[in-house]
Symmetry: C2
Subunit: 525 residues, 2 copies
Amino acid sequence: MEITRKNFKESLEVIETAINECSFLAFDGEFTGLNHAGMSHAAIFDTPEERYYKVVQGASDFLLNQFGFCTFSYDGTTKTYTAKPFNFYVFPRPFSRAAPDVRFTCQSSSLDFLMSQGFDFNKWISEGVSYLRPVDEASLKDQIIKKHEVLSSPAFISPSGGSQPPGINKSPVEIPPEQKDFVDDICKRVEKFLESGEHESYSLPPCNGFQRKLTYQSLEAKFGSDIHLQGKTNDKKERYIVVTKIKDSDDVKRIEENKQAQDLAEVDDAVGFTKVIKMISQSGKLIVGHNMLLDVAHTIHQFLYPLPQDYEEFKSMCHCVFPRMIDTKLMSNTQPFKDRVENSGLSYLHTLTQMPPFVKPEVVLPEEWDNKYKTEMLHEAGYDAYITGQCFIALSNYLGQCQSPPTERIPPGSPLLQPFLNKIFMMRSLDIPYMDLCAPDLNPARDHVFHITFPKEWKNSDISQLFAQFGNVHIGWIDDVSAYVALNSKSVANYVLKTLCKKGSVYRIRSYNDHKNPKYDEGTI
Amino acid sequence: MEITRKNFKESLEVIETAINECSFLAFDGEFTGLNHAGMSHAAIFDTPEERYYKVVQGASDFLLNQFGFCTFSYDGTTKTYTAKPFNFYVFPRPFSRAAPDVRFTCQSSSLDFLMSQGFDFNKWISEGVSYLRPVDEASLKDQIIKKHEVLSSPAFISPSGGSQPPGINKSPVEIPPEQKDFVDDICKRVEKFLESGEHESYSLPPCNGFQRKLTYQSLEAKFGSDIHLQGKTNDKKERYIVVTKIKDSDDVKRIEENKQAQDLAEVDDAVGFTKVIKMISQSGKLIVGHNMLLDVAHTIHQFLYPLPQDYEEFKSMCHCVFPRMIDTKLMSNTQPFKDRVENSGLSYLHTLTQMPPFVKPEVVLPEEWDNKYKTEMLHEAGYDAYITGQCFIALSNYLGQCQSPPTERIPPGSPLLQPFLNKIFMMRSLDIPYMDLCAPDLNPARDHVFHITFPKEWKNSDISQLFAQFGNVHIGWIDDVSAYVALNSKSVANYVLKTLCKKGSVYRIRSYNDHKNPKYDEGTI
Ligand SMILES: Nc1nc2c(ncn2[C@@H]2O[C@H](COP(=O)(O)OP(=O)(O)O)[C@@H](O)[C@H]2O)c(=O)[nH]1
Ligand SMILES: Nc1nc2c(ncn2[C@@H]2O[C@H](COP(=O)(O)OP(=O)(O)O)[C@@H](O)[C@H]2O)c(=O)[nH]1
């Protein structure tokens, strides 16, 4: 089901029901970009902490622009899962002048890629669901309440303090000859409106800033406290003025109170998609993702709380927001799956887990659901969530098949899944497969890893050649003049520095540990 | 005429003719954003240099995403201008893996605004014309030539060095049982292709990275030097392999040469919109803009040369790229127009200059031109350029009306326009109306201007009140705790510091000059 701001409100109940009744849910996000120029977001010897800092960088600059999730409910009688996929376009629409006007970065290759996968950028901008972090919601509501406290004092009924930019002289301006007709017309319209007595308020046609200034000034002078004026913006972003009749001072109060209620409701609407994330968080349901680090980090940062600088704080924040998570990319890179899954890309994994030795799970969409997922829609967040969930079911059940006696179905709460719980896959890492949200991270020995700097002209082959006598190596580029090099055979690690450290060589080589603790290094030289 | 990458190449001739035959051209740009959070891009007491630094900031982060220009040719017989408006979507499409993958900033209010004005973001991303700065073009071509020098050595015919990420072990991998069918199928296809002798080359179906690795490895082992393999990317961003028959070593050379020619042509295509800017620049025609500082700066920075840090260098760069420019916003804010144009917004100015005392210029679109500009399309760059040119004609001719005897038409080269030539309007500035590209900028005395810092709670009214005894003031906010304050009556300037500088006050006040030269200030205390 595709959710935009057009059907968001009316869909909230369906969404809530789906979340509350499901066995687990899978999710996925799309982004306006992934990494900054010259900076890889994942290197093979990142520590979890280093990896996290790269993620924070990305999360504060790039935007999550599509969020998909899919709930899965199991029916024991038919042995079938019912899937309810939702796909949300999300856009930080500045709904009022006080609302945050978000700046974010785009990576042209990412936009190009999304476009080629059917992402609708017009829909995103014009119909994307808005969102507000709780702290922004609170401060906006606070501002509105404060503003109305000031406005409802009688001195402020005149709007001259409101919509004009500061630094402009506020004494009445003379009406230039060519504006006389305009002003006369406005005055006649308002006169007619006041006489007719039909409606409470009347919207003047949109006009430019100078004409609005003339309008405020002339109507105030002519009708004084008989009317109340309020600037508004229409769909085409044109400003216009609404005139309201005033009978007594209670009228003014009522208008201001209405305006305040409207303003608060507007903020409530703007909270939008944040409500859905809160529902998911509060449900405590198992959340499944595929290579989910970026998705989790962006989701928390964009919709709930800015990511903390401290990595350990991030881990506990994550665990607090989503208390149960499993990453199918981690599963498929772990035994007993690792040997059977030579490529853990989502689309490949999905195809693979529908064939023996896996058992294709029975998953149906409800009848009232749209049929678009009958065909492949890779990289649409809702579709990716839908197939991630299917992979999870197949992988889980395979763990059951391996039991003796075999079990047909492994539910999301099964102890067999415990080893994967709350561990987030660390892409490209060579020796630290995951971040562990509930325990200290792994800290593997890196005695066979070396840090090397070299001339810009060097390529993989130059490095391999330098290390040739020590057998095969893994090379992890840091930038174009430095890299980590890991030996395949750890036993020869002791000889590397003795052999390769030579005065006057164009490269410089150090052990991984010396590189990470340069002080120790400097001390012993 | 709307230009996208679909009709760009075929339109180049029409564009070139229009530029070369015109009397002058008007232009306009649209942007993904204007200013950074908390930073105004224009303050009333900016010096031209300070203003320029703000512009550089914006130009390096935000993107010009639509460029419009409109040529105007005068026909003396019919006394009519023929207008040829062009509207370009421009997008930095990463056309190859080596091409720049541009990161840029968006401001959500700007996207929202453009969307409401009919900007088509899908068209922008999927059909926008690409561009390359000359320096990027040169380095890409250089890379291609160097790469082919290496590749055409026989050791590199095998593709194993090419498309694989560094750091991955390159010894042959064992074919997993479930991939046997795939590999067999590929081998059979290639066998059949080689037997048939019908075509020179054959494209294998797209597959995943692991399968491509298997394909390279198996085909190489089986067919050796009978075939040549090359990785390609299709429209859906899927990678696939093209197999080409090899009869002798000349074939290999020919294939590599073809590939090099293709790669170079690809870069040529990617230069795209930069070609148009070069044409405009080299034409030496008068360029008209409305409030054109951002347009000029972004155009130079994005399509030609990164903006220099030095402001004087910028001025000469500008003048060199566009040797003749006029800003209609500067015209309308200068006498004899200033008194007649109470609002110099483009749309307002356009309406105004079509009515007496101005004479609406006779402007026609060529018959073959599309008719979409019959209705207003404000904020489409091509349309804005079209009406900017109309304003320019009307304003110019008005200068002729004011002559004695009156002249009906003032051509773009008239000495009457000399006072406006190569001066760019400085928006919001109170006392420096323009940047002068060909002369030192104005340096008005600011003895009546003061810099004040104050508590965050202060508003316009607090400042006005503080200065009340000195008459009306202009307030130019810098941020929420500081502002410039300018007296309307300069004669009382001497008394301000004497009266307002008080020990223990919550504000701090200094003269503008002391604020700008704090060392001098510190020295005298
Ligand atoms: N000098 C040199 N630098 C390289 C080479 N391969 C990769 N690099 C550098 O290492 C960085 C990371 O490369 P890679 O491991 O492929 O990560 P990715 O760019 O995120 O895919 C690149 O951006 C280059 O700066 C090479 O062959 N020679
Ligand atoms: N404390 C305070 N700050 C203001 C007030 N008006 C403007 N400012 C600050 O001055 C900055 C620039 O305002 P303005 O001159 O309207 O420029 P603009 O934001 O580019 O339209 C704003 O972002 C505010 O931080 C005010 O009434 N009180």
